[in-house]
Structure formats: structure tokens, C-alpha cells
Amino acid sequence: MPKIFIDDLTSKMVLEEPVKDQHGLLLFQKGIVVTENIIKTLREWEVFEVSIEGNDHEQTSSIDPLILKFAKIEIQDLFCNNIHRGPFTSELIRHITHRLAVRCSKGMSNES
């Protein structure tokens, strides 16, 4: 089920799955309408992704498509020695691409 990053979460979206913290503690039930306070709480509890009803669009939708394209090319190049990608590698690429795109949007480099 596609998830979206907290950076892309906005008010009035609806949670499609219960949200738990890193230790499995339930924070919000499914079906809850997202508010600014909920987004703030999710950040405080270091939840980075949630499932949203009707989310069939690209998860990094709030990022400039050109920046996203650049990030995808950069990261694909970085992973050129990983042709056969399993679940871990694919997830790593997805998160690193998002991280790079966010950093580029903020005028930062890939490196911390």
C-alpha cells in the first residue's frame, strides 16, 4: 500500500491505516482526518510515513518534478553496482532519493 512522507502530509487527508510509533504503540486509528496538530504529533513521535486514503499519486508530489528527476538520476547512478535490487535496496533507493530531493529543494547538498 503506498505511503506518503510526513513532509507531504496535509490537513483533511484521511489515514488509511492505524499509525503506530517505533515501539508499536498506537498513536492514531485509521479513518482519522489529519489536522495540523496530528502532523505536529507525528513529527514529535518521529513517524516518517503514513498511509493515506486514495493515495495513488507519487509520494514525493510536493517536490518540484525537475528536482525529483535530478535526484532520481543521481541516486540511480550511485547504485550502478546494484543491478539486481531486492526489497531492502529498493526501499533504500526510495528513501535516499526523497532525502536528496528534499535537501536540493532546501538548497542543501546530498552530504550532511
Binding site: 517505533q22 516518517f48 533504500l92 528513501h95
Partner: protein, 281 residues
């Protein structure tokens, strides 16, 4: 003509040796004299080490609510084995800091190494390891063999770096072709020479092929995954231009849910610069 591993390690004792303070701490911990006071007195003999350790225990690594201002307090709060391992980590960086190297910058090399240590430590913290500092040390030392290669046989190193860049091949594969061995083999041999724990030897030897590890597959898998994440995040550089081939089984061996990956990446971003500055000053 291939390089000679024995030559590479022949005068390592002149270049560097395992720090005395680590040997003393290790002996004390293994004997019945491992009181906090005794451990503190060993560390306090080396004032530079004491300052470095206090910087580290007051870093984002621990995020203690109160400032720790004495070694005796650090021993109590952090633990004896943990402090011994941190002493080893900071002493090795200090030892290698000034060796002349070409083709890689020391700052960038240590940033990659420390980032790998930080990432390994974060991953280990998920499975409630009692001493996560040993993961930090193993992660930090995983590429130490490359420093020896670039400092002792720069002419070979130059060829390795050129070929790897031209063919987009992982450095360790080109090292095996050009030298007859790779940096993992050199690093592991150095650990053996220094008589450091066997676990470090195996982790370093197999960090690119974690499924070959016999006794310490979990630890080796953690360092393998940490190395991949840190390469992907472009944190520092140990000479490798691309993310090395990832062995998916390593993640399975660690046994964590894929859902923790964004949190691991976020924690690395939060900790790495602070830890790097404190280790590197």
C-alpha cells in the same frame, strides 16, 4: 606484479600500534580489578584521551540530560566495556590522523568511517545489544585496510582508483585484481596483528560478503548494511565512488522491519556531524 600483503604489514608497528591504554583497560576489565575507580585511573593517565572521551560522551551519541564532566562519572554512566571501546576508537583515529596519504582526504575518509560506526550503532540499538559501542568501533574500522594500502603502496593504489573510476567497478573488486587481495583482507590482518577481538577480524574481512562470515554473521551484516546506507547518503568518502553491491540477505539476517529504515536514516543525519566533530578534534 601483485603487491605483497606481508610487506604491507611488515612495519605496521612503526606506523601505528594498538594504544597502550586500550590494552590496560582490556586487562583490567578481564581481571577482577574492573572497579569504576580503577578504570577511571587508567584513562585519566592520558589527559588528551580523557578530554576526547568527555567530548564524545557529551555528544549527540548519548544525549544525556546532564553534562558529564569527569571520567569517573563517564565510567559509571556509559559503562566500562563501552568506554574501553570508545577509547580504542578515538585512539586509532588519533594514531592514523597524520599518516601521509594520497588519493583520499583524511577528513572525508574518517567521516565515512565514523558515519558507518554511527549507523552500525543505531542499527544495533534496535536489537537491544548490551554493548553497542563495539558495533561503532567495528563500523569505524571497516575500511582501515585502505588507509594502509594508500599509504604504503601508493603506486598500486593509484592504479586501483583509476581502473575503478574508469570501469565503474567497486574498489574492492579492482583491488583483488590488481593487488591480489582487497582492503578488507589488509584491515583484518591488521586487527589480527594488533590482537584485537576476533569478532573485528571477521567483520572487517567479510564486510563486503557478509554471508561468508562464520561466527559473526549478524555483526558483519550490520556493518555491511550500515556501509551501504552511509555510501547512499554520501557521508564522507573512503575512495569508493558508488554504493557497493548490497547483499539482501544481510538485511534479512539483521531481522528488522523495513519500516525502521527512514528512522535509521534520520538518526544518522541527526548524529553524524556532531559525533564527527567530537572525534576529529
Amino acid at each position: 606484479m601483485k603487491a605483497d600483503l606481508q610487506y604491507l604489514l611488515s612495519d605496521m608497528d612503526k606506523l601505528s600500534s594498538v594504544p597502550d591504554v586500550y590494552i590496560q583497560l582490556d586487562e583490567a576489565i578481564r581481571s577482577s580489578r574492573a572497579s569504576a575507580g580503577h578504570i577511571s585511573s587508567i584513562i585519566s593517565q592520558d589527559s588528551s584521551l580523557s578530554v576526547r572521551l568527555l567530548k564524545i560522551v557529551n555528544s549527540a551519541f548519548y544525549s544525556f540530560p546532564r553534562h558529564i564532566d569527569t571520567i569517573s562519572r563517564a565510567v559509571i554512566v556509559v559503562g566500562t566495556q563501552q568506554l574501553r571501546d570508545l577509547a580504542l576508537a578515538t585512539s586509532i583515529i588519533n594514531t592514523f590522523k597524520n599518516i601521509p596519504v594520497q588519493f583520499i582526504t583524511m577528513d572525508s575518509f574518517w567521516k565515512h568511517s565514523i558515519a558507518c560506526g554511527v549507523a552500525s550503532r543505531i542499527i544495533a540499538s534496535y536489537f537491544k545489544e548490551p554493548n553497542i559501542e563495539r558495533y561503532f568501533v567495528a563500523g569505524m574500522l571497516h575500511d582501515i585496510g585502505r588507509l594502509i594500502i594508500v599509504s604504503k603502496i601508493p603506486e598500486y593504489a593509484e592504479r586501483v582508483f583509476s581502473l575503478a573510476a574508469a570501469s565503474a567497478t567497486p574498489l574492492y573488486k579492482v583491488e583483488r585484481e590488481v593487488l591480489g587481495f582487497d582492503h578488507a583482507k589488509v584491515g583484518s590482518a591488521l586487527i589480527q596483528l594488533w590482537k584485537l577481538p576476533k569478532s573485528f577480524e571477521e567483520i572487517i574481512l567479510f564486510h563486503h560478503n557478509p554471508t561468508n562470515a562464520k561466527q559473526f554473521e549478524l555483526e558483519t551484516s550490520v556493518i555491511h548494511i550500515a556501509d551501504a546506507i552511509v555510501h547512499a547518503m554520501s557521508l564522507g568518502n573512503s575512495g569508493e565512488l558508488f554504493v557497493p553491491p548490497i547483499n539482501e540477505k544481510a538485511w534479512t539476517t539483521i531481522g528488522l522491519s523495513i519500516d525502521v529504515l527512514p528512522n535509521i536514516i534520520n538518526l544518522i543525519d541527526k548524529q553524524v556531524n556532531d559525533v564527527f566533530i567530537r572525534f576529529n578534534t
